[in-house]
């Protein structure tokens, strides 16, 4: 009996070794088949690509008619495949849109997108290859801080500008790089600023005096929560309950019973979608009725959020960088192009698509302003200019941090309304929140 168990253990171990070995091989090989398939979204014929690779790198000499080659490595497979695929769609939508409207400086855009399988080493190798072997004119960033941090170093080494769609963690900006530009409205931890500003601007007799913070253990949500706690406690609003839960938590009844017992005026949730729904349901069951409620993510995904909590959405606040109906530069065109290329409805478009599209918009305007694809000139320009994008006007500081702001949304009726900040508001906020 015992020997059988040992045999089993050994065979499992061998099997898993085999599996990982195969997996490793697959990862390194993945970019190969992806390469010829990559430019399908653009109309660049394979023949011109062959020609171009044999010529001298055309980084400074902008010869008209020759396509501008832009490379990126994205997590198209592996654990980040979902946002990675969305970012890929964003890049493809942008390239198709630009090419149909005459290209940049009269040149078409040709994308080369490699799959890094959500692996840092593969991503680094991909950018090395794009710059030194494929000799692309420009590179754009991968998805998430995890991959942006190592790959931006590669771009810096070769003097390439690195506009990226999804790396906003503090570690992205504290390495002294001057070639990196984060194409979202603001760093992640500043997301709740429009909300705290709204709360602090309330008249004294309506202002909440206590608040609770219930957050998932995640660098993004905790960063946002730190910002909220600092801003509200500094203004004299008392933090009466501060709880962090594991990301896989699904049952919030114990937390909600404690919150209900303390009955704070304001509830601030550091959430993704599922836990925002779970928290609200648990607060309802516990009989807790706050005067205001804010959740980081969840309310900004209208379909699933409404499905999850129904009419309890009324009056709930959240921040958002982009939504399909936003009246920002080229947003309507992007939405239409996306639906044309990938089907579905405007409401299904992930925010990551818009963030990748923003990267393209920023690059295009910078190229048009400098009149070339010279990376050094582009980097200089990107630190100075302001760019019209689907997430609003963007500019960057010396570390590449964006100088824009998130929007504040509030659920009113069957959907949400942008209620701040200032000139971007499309409606008045409701305060206090009706009972849920």
């Amino acid at each position: 009996m015992k020997s059988k168990i040992w045999m089993l253990m050994i065979s499992i171990a061998l099997l898993s070794l085999l599996v990982t070995a195969c997996g490793g091989q697959a990862t390194t090989q993945a970019p190969e088949p992806a390469e010829p398939a990559a430019p399908t979204a653009t109309e660049a014929p394979a023949a011109t690509e062959e020609l171009a690779t044999t010529e001298e790198p055309a980084t400074t000499e902008a010869s008209a008619g020759e396509p501008i080659k832009i490379g990126a490595s994205l997590p198209l497979t592996g654990r980040m495949s979902e946002p990675g695929t969305a970012a890929n769609q964003g890049y493809e939508v942008w390239a198709a849109f630009v090419n149909e409207s005459g290209g940049i400086l009269g040149r078409q855009v040709e994308l080369t997108i490699l799959d890094n399988a959500s692996d840092q080493d593969t991503a680094v190798a991909d950018y090395e290859k794009l710059i030194t072997v494929d000799k692309v004119d420009l590179v754009v960033g991968p998805f998430s801080s995890f991959l942006v941090i190592p790959t931006s170093e590669v771009a810096a080494r070769y003097g390439y500008a690195f506009v990226e769609p999804a790396g906003g963690a503090p570690d992205v900006f504290n390495r002294g790089l001057t070639n990196l530009f984060f194409a979202q409205p603001a760093p992640g931890d500043e997301q709740a600023i429009p909300f705290t500003e709204y709360i602090l601007a309330l008249p004294d007799d309506q202002r909440p005096s206590t608040f609770a913070v219930v957050s998932q253990d995640d660098p993004f949500t905790l960063g946002v929560m730190d910002g909220v706690k600092a801003a509200l406690t500094e203004a004299g609003i008392e933090l009466v309950f501060d709880e962090i839960y594991a990301p896989e938590t699904t049952d919030f009844s114990s937390i909600a019973i404690q919150v209900a017992d303390l009955d704070p005026d304001l509830i601030v949730g550091g959430t993704q979608l599922e836990d925002a729904v779970g928290q609200i349901r648990a607060y309802q069951e516990a009989g807790y009725q706050p005067r205001g409620a804010y959740f980081t993510t969840g309310p900004s995904l209208p379909g699933p959020f409404r499905e999850g909590v129904g009419e309890a959405t009324e009056g709930v606040f959240a921040s958002i960088s982009w939504f399909p109906e936003a009246e920002e530069f080229q947003n309507a065109e992007m939405v239409a192009k996306y639906v044309e290329m990938f089907g579905g409805e405007a409401g299904d478009i992930p925010e990551d698509v818009a963030n990748a599209f923003t990267v393209g918009q920023v690059l295009q305007q910078a190229i048009e302003k400098t009149g070339s694809v010279d990376n050094a000139a582009l980097i200089e320009e990107l630190h100075q200019g302001t760019y019209e994008t689907v997430v609003g006007p963007l500019s960057f500081d010396e570390l590449g941090q964006p100088q824009g702001s998130f929007m504040l949304l509030q659920w009113q009726g069957e959907t949400f309304v942008i209620v701040g900040p200032g000139d971007r508001a499309r409606g008045e906020a409701i305060w206090p929140k009706p009972n849920w």
Binding site: M1, K4, I5, L8, I12, E82, D217, E243, I244, Y245, A246, E248, T249, T250, D251, F252, S253, S254, I255, I257, Q258, D261, L273, E274, V277, G278, R281, Q284, E285, A286, G287, P304, E307, G308, V309, G310, A312
Partner: protein, 298 residues
């Protein structure tokens, strides 16, 4: 660690008991299957999520209440159970290790299939009575009883009673219990062990189907959720004594309360650890579980 008020403690204890009832229904099939087959069905969590998805799908497509959609999911899972046991698991009989590996493969397969059918978004059914509560006034204390969880406990108790009566008073039930107690002796007495095993697997999955319907209204789930729940259910049946139905019920209530109370006395971050802490303590001091019997295996 901080001590919350009595109100909070009483309220979380009650929620813990209600939740424990649903845990009991979810874990019953696992302990039955282990009792009869000596195989830990690692796919039990995946079947739980599958039945939750069936309820979710019936609800979104046809507006069918999860308390009613069990009439669909229970027979489906019963048949899947019999087929899986008869044509897959029985091929490796005599080697429980391989059986476990097979159920693990089944769990991964189901996860993949469900992931491609329903994507990775967390789902949960919201009926008209979701988040509705009975407020029970007891002098200065108000106890809030969520409808869904009370309904869950009642349904779980009914299903468990049915399984219990079935095992006690039917021939097949007696054959199952005989097989749990001593397989060889049961076989010598003329029990068709092959058939008993297939039926047990069917019943085991039918009970998890009922559990899944309740599950779908209380918690959010996606195709990957099964990993976390199989660990919880395993802890429950180990504490209860593997193969013991009353033990599973008792252990489920204990775990439900422990988890719920730990979340307010310590932090909710640490509360899942309570499950595994209890598991370790059980394995060290009472490896046969609360109501299990010590068995010597060769």
């Amino acid at each position: 660690m901080h001590l919350p008020s009595w109100n909070v403690l009483i309220q979380v204890t009650i929620i813990g008991i209600l939740t424990g009832g649903v845990y009991a229904l979810m874990a019953t099939g696992l302990t039955l299957i282990f009792g009869v087959m000596r195989v830990i069905n690692i796919a039990h969590g995946a079947f739980l999520i599958l039945s939750a998805y069936i309820s979710y799908w019936m609800f979104t497509a046809y507006g069918l209440d999860p308390f009613l959609s069990v009439m669909v999911s229970v027979p489906i899972l019963f048949v899947i159970g019999i087929i899986f046991q008869r044509y897959v698991l029985s091929r490796v009989k005599g080697d429980p290790g391989l059986g476990v590996l097979l159920t693990f493969a089944m769990a991964l397969t189901l996860e993949g299939v469900m992931g491609s059918l329903w994507e990775s978004t967390g789902r949960s059914i919201r009926t008209a009575y979701t988040s509705k509560v009975y407020a029970l006034e007891l002098s200065d204390l108000t106890v809030r009883l969520p409808w869904v969880r009370v309904g869950g406990l009642v349904a779980a108790a009914m299903a468990l009673a049915a399984i219990f009566l079935f095992l006690r008073y039917t021939n097949l039930g007696r054959a199952i219990r005989a097989t749990i107690q001593n397989r060889s002796a049961a076989q010598l007495m003329g029990v068709n062990v092959e058939r008993v095993q297939a039926m047990t697997f069917g019943i085991g999955l039918a009970s998890v189907a009922a559990g899944g319907a309740l599950f779908s209204m209380i918690w959010t789930f996606n195709s990957g959720s099964h990993e976390e729940w199989i660990s919880k259910m395993l802890s429950i049946i180990v504490l209860g004594g593997m193969g013991s139905l009353p033990g599973t019920f008792l252990a489920a209530i204990i775990m439900g309360v422990a988890e719920s109370v730990a979340a307010v006395v310590m932090t909710s971050y640490l509360s899942p650890i309570v499950f595994y802490l209890i598991l370790f303590i059980t394995l060290i001091f009472r490896p046969q579980g609360l109501l299990g019997i010590k068995v010597r295996e060769g």
